[in-house]
Amino acid sequence: MSTALFAADGAADFSQDTWWLVVGKALAIFVFLVVTTLLLIWFERRVIGRMQQRPGPNRTGPFGLLQTLADGIKLALKEDIIPKNAHKAVFIAAPIIAATCCFIGFAIIPFGPSVSIAGHMTPLQLTDIPVAVIFVLAVASVGVYGILLAGWSSGSTYPLLGGLRSSAQIVSYEIAMGLSLIPVFLYAGSLSTSEIVYAQTHQWFIISAIFSFVVYVITMLGETNRLPFDLAEGEGELTGGFHTEYSSLKFALFFLAEYVNMVTVSALATTLFLGGWRAPWPISTINDGMFNTGWWPVLWFVIKLWMFLFFFVWVRGSLPRVRYDQFMRFGWKFLIPTSLLWIIGVAFIRAIPMTDITRRQLFLGIAVVGVIAIAIVWVIDATRSPEEDEQVGWELGEVDPFAGGHPVPPLPGQTAMLTRGARPKVAALTAAGDPDDEPLPEEDPRG
């Protein structure tokens, strides 16, 4: 597919792959993911147990390692319920979509450099394509359908709202995530994961794109619906969120999908920012880079991956859940604009070699621009929106239950209530509202 555009020195070479190698690698990835998930669930419960001064599961198997497996078997033995309001086909398809998509993203994650397997030199990576990173994002987006359709097809209020929330949350943070990846592409000049790893030979992108890394890590939490961003299934508000109506192995599939997704985003973070399978600095210098060859890199990769997974668990154990509006505001009003500014900054830095501007002048300029931009953003947010200064009167009448689209049955005689931020504010009610004033009648369109 690519010569001129995408060919670079670091591209992995799959020319010697045979069909059985491919199938073998695919199976290996699958097994790796399932095992990692089983371990991760156990790990999470143990770590959180520790953080909460309790032991966590420790009965089933050594250190309770088989607890997750036992839970899975228990779920398999539960009754598989399909609610009568559900749209049956979609209801069944949704977990399949979610569970299938979560695996595919891993196809392009490089575990290590080329090794020799049965006489074939093959990279420790299932495959690589020129648009690998976009592919991961795309697959993740398809995964959203699983959640959305699950919520929609359940025919129930909580799942619907949970599914909507969840997908709104994922798409909101997907923008910031996409933007946080762009500096990486700017540095690497490629979307192929193997090339990106290659481009980090001398310096990991966590250093040159530190801000992007931070943004990515935050969005990573949002994308996977993890605490503190697990608003889609906040028990207090939505019981179980989109999977409220699911039971048995269907529920298990969603559970699996969520954890595999965690692994996937962590693996991507490793690949893009932490040099992928490359050994960390002091080790990488040993013996002329010995630890960067052969099977060693798999170790480094798995270690880095588990660092992220630990981070997930750690955050879950430490932070409270945020409110939905706070969450959305943070994503839309902070992550996106700052990411954009960061992209511009990185682009300017990358452009220096093409001009005769000194690096110092450039940083100065970027600093000034950044300060100004932040000041502007602050002003925008600090000054109240002009709409709210001059709200017109808003007659409080009988509630229209469908006014905002909420499927909420009104109680007889119920009137509108004030909520913070709810727009048509009653403050000016007495001033402008004329009680005798009828709403405009539906006009006859023919005049």
């Binding site: 002009p386 001059e390 808003w394 004033d437």
Partner: protein, 518 residues
């Protein structure tokens, strides 16, 4: 990986900014307008937006005039061609949109925005709508939207690349879809018009795009000149090429409102706020015909023997259906819509001449028709009853008694539509018909004049109504226009008269400009 297929090297194109300056000015004005919407307090938006929009348009016009002095005309890797016809169309669009913006800025009683709803998001008939309207809110987003649309329209006839054509098409259409749904009164009708326009417009642009893809497959390039070269170099007609040409033509014919792709015109014209209707009727037509001329003359011209007969049929059908159906209308805006369909047919007659005279004639016709149309719709905004504009024909009866000047002005516009000598309409018709007759289109011209005669019937009917009937519906009044509308109507009348009596300079400009650069 499969065999390496992509061998193209990436080159940074260069852009001659002075050539695209007019478009940049307009789009920059639009962005400024958006910022005004974002940051200016509500009560001062109107007073900022109107001058801003007018200045942007005027500055762009100056830039167009300045750009006409340059010799280099292709930029952006050949995708944009700012040649003489493009400049002519751009200048025309700018002048017409200046007038249209003036009519949009009209507020009859000084504090209430007239044609546009106070808040587009409010549900029709809701108390929120009523209270926002009582608070005197104005929909000032129309100005940036209009500027965006104008920017797209200016790009449309200057695009030498099917992709750019598509992008420009959407850039000018999308704001129009929204503008159509913003009428202050009869909002359901207005929203419905917007929906219809949108669905059909999107449908047709999908056709345009699919046709472009087929032509791309045929020629290996989206560049119009490259397509022309590919067509001429292969002697026989290729199915890919023919279907592509047909589908691209459908997209363009839709935009100009030619039969059988005209179904949206009356509905949208009726439902849209009247100043927007005027803007659409005048400027969209100029832009769409500008692009059509370039595509037909430059891009798919070499294969015209294959498809010309079909466009002939389209032109004839357009003239006949537009003229005949207009007779049955009882709403003045619908009537003008059908009339615009008929006029599209007349312009097609000029397009089909395939010659400089045809090009020049069409260009002149578009300019002349544009000024008259905007003036006519501006007059429509003035005739009102308690519920807003009085567009039913019966409400126009005896208008000459109430307001002789207005009736006279409208009569003049109608006479121009009908093509009576000493109006611009006649000069335009003469230009396109003589181009057609000069190039083998005599029968087309004969159909054209027959349709003109039919069309004259319904124009005359309105004159009869205004002058010779007694008013039988009370309550129709003629609003006193502010300087904005007065200027718009005045310029409309003036241009209609000048282009009818002394069309020389503009004809000269048109015929000097009538040469596409490939």
């Amino acid at each position: 990986m499969t065999a390496a297929l992509v061998t193209a090297e990436v080159h940074a194109p260069s852009i001659s900014y002075h050539l695209v300056a007019p478009m940049l000015i307009v789009l920059g004005g639009a962005l400024l307008g958006v910022l005004v919407e974002a940051f200016a307090p509500r009560r001062s938006r109107y007073v900022i937006q109107v001058p801003l929009t007018l200045v942007a348009l005027a500055a762009a016009f100056v830039a167009v005039v300045l750009a006409s002095g340059h010799t280099k005309s292709t930029t952006a890797a050949g995708a944009v061609v700012v040649d003489a016809p493009a400049l002519f169309f751009q200048g025309t669009i700018l002048l017409l949109s200046l007038l249209a913006v003036l009519t949009m800025a009209e507020r009859f009683d000084g504090n209430e925005g007239d044609a546009f709803v106070s808040t587009a998001a409010s549900v029709p008939g809701s108390s929120y709508e009523a209270s926002s309207s009582r608070a005197g809110w104005l929909q000032t987003e129309v100005f940036p939207l209009t500027l965006l649309s104008v920017g797209g329209m200016m790009l449309f006839p200057a695009s030498n690349d099917l992709l750019l054509l598509f992008v420009a098409l959407e850039v000018f259409s999308l704001p129009l879809y929204l503008l159509c749904g913003l009428a202050r009164r009869r909002r359901l009708l207005s929203q419905e018009a917007a929906l219809k326009y949108f669905l059909l417009g999107a449908f047709s642009s999908a056709f345009f795009l699919f046709g472009s893809a087929l032509l791309f497959g045929f020629a290996g390039s989206l560049n119009l000149s490259a397509i022309a070269t590919a067509i001429s170099s292969r002697g026989d007609a290729d199915a890919l090429m023919l279907i592509g040409v047909a589908m691209v033509s459908i997209g363009l014919l839709f935009k100009v409102g030619a039969v059988p792709f005209h179904a949206w015109t009356p509905d949208v014209y009726q439902g849209a706020p009247t100043p927007v209707t005027g803007f659409m009727a005048a400027c969209t037509k100029v832009a769409a015909f500008g692009a059509m001329l370039r595509v037909f003359y430059i891009g798919i011209g070499p294969s015209r023997w294959d498809w010309q007969p079909i466009i002939w049929a389209v032109a004839i059908a357009t003239m006949i259906i537009g003229s005949v159906l207009a007779i049955t209308q009882t709403d003045i805006k619908r009537m003008l819509a059908y009339s615009s369909i008929a006029h599209a047919g007349f312009i097609l007659v000029g397009v089909l001449a395939f010659d400089r005279t045809g090009l020049a004639g069409s260009m002149f016709y578009l300019a002349a028709y544009g000024f008259t149309t905007i003036g006519a719709f501006a007059v429509v905004t003035l005739v009102r009853d308690s519920a807003g504009e009085a567009t039913h024909l019966s409400q126009w009866a005896g208008l000459a008694r109430r307001s002789p000047v207005l009736a006279a002005v409208f009569t003049f516009f109608l006479l121009a539509f009908a093509g009576i000598p000493l109006t611009s309409g006649f000069t335009g018709k003469f230009a396109v018909f003589s181009a057609a007759i000069g190039h083998g289109g005599t029968w087309l011209a004969v159909v054209g004049v027959v349709c003109s005669a039919i069309a004259a019937f319904f124009y005359v009917r309105i004159i009869v109504l205004m002058y010779f009937s007694d008013p039988d519906v009370e309550g129709t009044v003629v609003a006193a226009p502010s300087a904005f509308t007065t200027v718009a109507i005045g310029v409309g009348v003036l241009m209609t008269l000048v282009l009818g009596v002394l069309p020389g300079p503009l004809l000269d400009l048109a015929s000097r400009s009538a040469l596409f650069l490939p």
